[in-house]
């Protein structure tokens, strides 16, 4: 009788056979789904049990920090990618097991928080593979986020550090390179409908031996992207920065010994994890919740929900994302769970507890629950080239609920703040430069997200990207030397496009761009929030408004300016669109998600960075702050009166305090008169399912039931059996609409 049982020996033989004959070493779920620290290695355990001199640990940690900072500066100074120049990079150090221990103080945490996945992959698969191996002088490259990473524009160089024959740690350098040979230039193709549209997809592989780049592989990579010079230069830059970092770490090893280095790295991680647990324990026990809505797939408007419940009990914290929208099969706004966790890590360190060490250990004690095949835990063949959409949401998703947990604490580690603006509001570009080179990348304006308002002050304007502290918004003069992009308007704060509140959000700024001197040039933009606002307010503060992409096509502004230098009084988006001063222009207001589009010479494209969320009731805003905003031309008189209910003299900006107080009291009374008790309101308001007109993705009232629209039809499915949604081609949809209109017209005529 065959009962399918096999002996222990046969089982071991079978396992070995399967392991030795794996056909494809794809992303490994054992690695990709584990964001926790590895258990101590035997070496680490022995070192820590022996005990370390804490003064020496502090000293060594300082030296490592300095070394990481130096390597960061090298990449920042020498890197060719626009992202490198603005600081969109990081250098990091990992334990011998691949756990991220420390990053350069100004580096982008998310990059390093992803890099330990490919390093763990290398350790697991290449160390004992006779055709690869891991040796002194080796370097490994990687860009495919499915093996760890934010998105495929980022390329990493990862190097093992051997000392006296023993692998003691790993070092890395990562840059947002941009161009990667995808179906649209610039590396972030919203048009990608499968992962095969995303350009080059490097699983972790060896590209350096004996500290030298292997030219055959470099050539292959150069041949796969639109900017071969950039590809070569930045591979050199990252390698040499990591080699300098290696020199510095070896100097530390020579001076203090192996135990001091390995012990410091491990202790740093364990101490951070301990501190995280202590802080969680300080929070009140209970559950806080938040919902985010993303209104676009960047190809069409559709409403995708991200649902989060944070539960605290003692020193345990659970982030439950179940009920979130399902993944798209043929849209690029998905992310895998490892990248999403890196975004969560970033958000914690950016706006919640920025004082914690920037290591993966901050996330290590937190349990994260998701629905498999949801938009934040996408798997399989789906594209994820525009994963920035859910990832940016991940950076801010716990800002609001954590403020609700943190507010009561007698001691706060950082200010209470509303959500930062969370869209990649920048021009992505590509084409032939005025120098005849092919290029594709994106502008530094991505780094100008407005800060959320704080519990004690307004948000700062265009403060930083949502994913890092240190990023420049670039210099247009340099950009204009390198590319055909001409800035007609820049860094002008977007008046009235702000989240109102007792304290308002920090504003974003306008970007007005055109092209000159190129035979072929174009732009794309990748933002949501044109129908449903992005950055959430806090404690009665409003969200930011919606934002649009504006175009003036069919003109050449340079010709118009030649004819009449005063044709445009001021390059201000609202004025240009309402006054339409350029004759013959086709003016349009569009969704902020636009796939690559040719910009003929002198045509105008306009977007703006957004505002962070507001804080508190608008009727509590100090009238003096309202007058300050008016004086600085950040808002109109209409909004000062209608939103903030301030009575003042428009010429002198002198406030009538008594009249303002009375007007605000009347307004509070009016609120009470017009509103309904909650239970009564819900009876009238809540519907059994999403409105029929809304292409809705995610749970409604029950987190275990998920709605989606696939092939144009609404479906409902159990959350633990999610199927990806397949979207119709927007052009087919439009053709069908026009054909229906035509048929109706013909019918009337007949």
């Amino acid at each position: 009788m065959n009962d399918n049982t096999i002996s222990k020996e046969d089982k071991a033989l079978l396992d070995k056979f399967l392991a030795d004959n794996q056909l494809f070493l794809g992303p490994d779920p054992d690695i990709m789904r584990n964001h926790s620290l590895s258990p101590r290695s035997a070496a680490e355990d022995a070192i820590l049990k022996k005990g370390l001199d804490t003064h020496q640990v502090h000293h060594v940690r300082g030296l490592i920090n300095a070394a990481l900072s130096e390597a960061f500066t090298m990449v920042n100074q020498m890197g060719a990618a626009p992202g490198a120049k603005w600081g969109d990079l990081v250098t990091g150090i990992y334990t011998a097991q691949g756990d991220l221990a420390m990053i350069a103080p100004h580096g982008i945490i998310a990059f390093a928080a992803c890099c330990f996945y490919p390093i763990r992959f290398i350790i697991k698969n290449w160390t004992n593979d006779q055709t690869v191996g891991v040796k002194d002088g080796d370097g490994f490259i990687h860009n495919d986020a499915r093996y760890g990473g934010i998105h495929n524009t980022d390329q990493s160089m990862m190097v093992p550090l051997f000392w006296k024959g023993e692998l003691v740690c790993w070092l890395s350098s990562t840059i947002h390179e941009g161009e990667n040979g995808a179906c649209e230039p610039g590396g972030m193709p919203a048009a990608a409908e499968s992962k095969y549209d995303e350009g080059i997809k490097m699983s972790p592989f060896k590209v350096v031996e004996n500290f030298q780049l292997k030219r055959d592989l470099v050539t292959f990579l150069q041949n796969s992207v639109r900017d071969p010079k950039l590809q070569l230069e930045d591979m050199k830059v990252k390698l040499h920065a990591v080699m300098r970092l290696r020199d510095r770490i070896i100097a530390i090893l020579d001076q203090f010994g192996r135990d001091a280095l390995m012990g410091t790295l491990r202790l740093h991680l364990e101490d951070t994890e301990t501190e995280m647990r202590r802080r969680i324990r300080e929070l009140p026990d209970g559950t806080v919740r938040v919902l985010q809505f993303m209104d676009s797939s960047l190809r069409e408007n559709c409403m995708q929900k991200i649902s989060l419940a944070i539960t605290v009990k003692g020193d345990r914290m659970v982030l439950d994302f179940r009920g979130t929208a399902p993944q798209f099969l043929n849209r690029s706004v998905n992310t895998n769970i490892a990248s999403f966790k890196a975004a969560l890590c970033t958000g914690l360190l950016q706006n919640i507890w920025p004082d914690l060490p920037h290591t993966m250990a901050v996330l290590s004690p937190i349990e994260i629950i998701t629905d498999r095949n949801s938009i934040i835990d996408a798997e399989g063949e789906m594209p994820q080239a525009m994963s920035l959409m859910p990832l940016f949401k991940g950076c801010v998703v716990w800002t609001i609920p954590m403020a609700k947990l943190n507010y009561s604490l007698p001691h706060k580690y950082s200010a209470i703040v509303a959500s930062q603006y969370d869209q990649a509001a920048t021009f992505i570009y590509g084409g032939v430069t005025q120098h005849g080179d092919i290029t594709g990348n994106f502008c530094a304006d991505i780094n100008g997200n407005g800060q959320g308002a704080r519990s004690h002050a307004d948000g700062e304007h265009s403060v930083s990207p949502v994913f890092g502290f240190m990023c420049d918004s670039g210099e247009h003069e340099i950009n204009e030397e390198d590319t055909p992009i001409i800035r007609l308007g820049a860094q002008r704060l977007a008046k009235d496009r702000v989240a109102w509140g007792k304290y308002r959000g920090g504003l974003g700024y306008e970007q007005i761009a055109t092209a000159r001197g190129s035979g072929l040039w174009g732009f794309m933009t990748g933002c949501e929030g044109s129908k449903f606002p992005s950055a959430q307010g806090l404690f009665g503060g409003y969200s930011c408004p919606s934002y649009q992409l504006l175009k003036i096509k069919g003109i050449n502004i340079f010709e118009e300016l030649k004819k009449d230098p005063k044709v445009v009084e001021v390059f201000d988006i609202v004025e240009l669109m309402n006054k339409r001063p350029i004759p013959g222009g086709k003016y349009s207001s569009n969704d902020m998600g636009m796939t690559f589009e040719v910009c003929n010479e002198g045509e105008i494209y306009m977007i703006c960075q957004g505002s962070g969320g507001g804080y508190g009731d608008v009727l509590e805003r100090d009238p003096a702050l309202v007058m300050k905003d008016l004086a600085e031309d950040l808002m109109s008189h209409e909004n000062a009166r209608d939103i903030y209910k301030v009575v003042y003299d428009e010429k002198t900006l002198v406030v009538d305090e008594d009249a303002t107080q009375k007007l605000r009291a009347d307004c509070r009374g009016e609120r009470i008169r017009r509103a309904k008790p909650f239970d009564q309101f819900c009876k009238e308001w809540v519907t059994a399912e999403p409105p029929a007109h809304l292409p809705y993705f995610g749970s409604w009232d029950n987190p275990r039931e998920i709605y989606a629209t696939t092939m144009g039809q609404r479906v409902k499915m159990p959350a633990d059996q999610l199927q990806g949604a397949f979207m119709l081609n927007p052009k087919d949809v439009r053709i069908a609409e026009l054909e229906a209109e035509l048929a109706a017209c013909k019918a009337v005529k007949a």
Binding site: A675, V686, P690
Partner: protein, 142 residues
């Protein structure tokens, strides 16, 4: 003992009631959803985020689309202060956003002094940005 939970809400641990921090109005049991003690108004988002572009010329004007987005404004029924502004698609159930374990909260605050005014944490995010900018300026020499 009263514990400050948000800018406009506190929990009275003795009575186990949600209270308004502006006027002291009791919103209901602290073991229940505080929103049940508030008034709600469904606000057209175009009233708050007014169109900046000419609505005769353009459909998209910087205002949210009212068929996709509504603002639920929650007010204290006694003083009218706006406690929350919740952005939802039309008909979506309001979120039970704060659900605390009151017994655990009582135990936690046994060892703490009552806080009358909320502590303000340091602006660490901003400090880091400023430090980063200074470093960048230095390293680029401009």
């Amino acid at each position: 003992m009263k514990v400050l939970i948000t800018e406009y809400l506190r929990i009275n641990l003795d009575t186990e009631r949600w209270e308004c921090r502006r006027c002291g109005h009791e919103h209901g049991s602290a073991r229940d959803n505080y929103k049940r003690g508030l008034l709600v108004h469904d606000r057209d988002p175009r009233e708050v985020h007014k169109p900046l572009l000419d609505t005769n010329l353009y459909e998209r004007t910087y205002s949210p689309d009212p068929t996709w987005c509504r603002i639920l404004e929650y007010y204290c029924p006694q003083c009218g202060v706006m406690v929350e502004a919740e952005y939802l698609p039309p008909g979506h159930p309001p979120l039970h956003d704060v659900e605390l374990d009151i017994d655990a909260l009582k135990l936690q605050w046994q060892g703490r002094d009552e806080v009358q005014e909320p502590a303000v944490g340091p602006d660490l995010a901003l400090e880091k940005v400023r430090h980063g900018r200074a470093l960048h300026e230095h390293s680029h020499g401009h």
